[in-house]
Amino acid sequence: MNTNEIVSHLAANNNMSKAEARRMLDAFVDTLTTSLGNEQGFSLPEIGTFDVNTREERQSYNPYQKKYMILPPKRVVRFHPNQDLKEAVK
């Protein structure tokens, strides 16, 4: 399902125009992005939890250039599906 299909589905279910549904979906995406950007996790009902994890710096080797390098630390989004969603998709 892509974003357009989600928007149509939501618009039909909630008696609203597609443009309105799209605006609300964008507000939702915006809220989640800001929250994760501030290193704040959250959980969504029926789906699972999201949080931010910090990856330490690490050493790496490029076999083509035959060079060693140190990769900087970085932050990534981590998603844990709900226990019953996990069971359901098994």
């Binding site: 992005t33 290193e39 969504l44 009902p45 060693y68 998603f79 599906p81 969603l85």
Partner: protein, 183 residues
């Protein structure tokens, strides 16, 4: 790490889109239900600007129960993965975005390693801090992890150094043979 509640998300979305809270709650519940039912039907879900949810195959593998030491086979199954899109990845990594990989030569690898060992001997109670990137003052950086992480990275360092030396030896032998034949 702090968390925000679903109610706070509802409030923020309601404020941004000028809708009532109860309407927003119904809307978001609908959205999460749609995502879930789609995943249960084995479909993937793209949400523009955020990321996509999809199912991944996990092959059957041997596992064991660490409490009873009992061996068992974990059957092949599907799992849900979330892949964030570029916008979200970059927003989350913003504090570290200016950092680039740094090239180092093999000599400095050895010295880094020795430094780590010396520090370990000096401060047995504290894990050695031997970082190239100074991120200690960056916001949200967790305190240094246990000693285990450091020894692990030392191991990988030795292994990669060993692999490098072995590779060089093979290349040298090949070159020698090549020149001998061409004489």
């Amino acid at each position: 790490m702090s968390k925000i509640t679903f109610d706070e998300i509802i409030e923020s979305v309601a404020r941004e889109s000028d809708k009532s809270k109860s309407f927003t709650r119904a809307f978001l519940k609908d959205l999460t239900k749609a995502i879930r039912s789609e995943l249960e039907n084995g479909e993937k879900v793209n949400i523009a600007g955020l990321g996509k949810f999809e199912l991944e195959n996990v092959a059957e593998k041997e596992g064991y129960n660490p409490q009873t030491d009992e061996r068992m086979t974990i059957p092949a199954h599907h799992k849900v993965v979330f892949k964030p899109y570029k916008n979200l990845r970059e927003t989350v990594n913003a504090p570290y975005a200016h950092l680039e990989p740094q090239l180092i030569d093999e000599d400095s690898i050895d010295s880094r390693d020795e430094d780590a060992e010396e520090q370990q001997a000096e401060t047995a109670t504290h894990p050695p801090v031997n970082r190239v990137f100074n991120v200690a003052k960056m916001p949200g950086r967790p305190a240094d992890k246990s000693l285990r992480n450091e020894t692990l990275s030392d191991w990988s360092l030795w292994i990669s150094a060993g692999a490098g030396v072995a590779g060089l030896a093979i290349v040298a032998a090949g070159a020698w043979l090549f020149f001998r034949r061409n004489k």
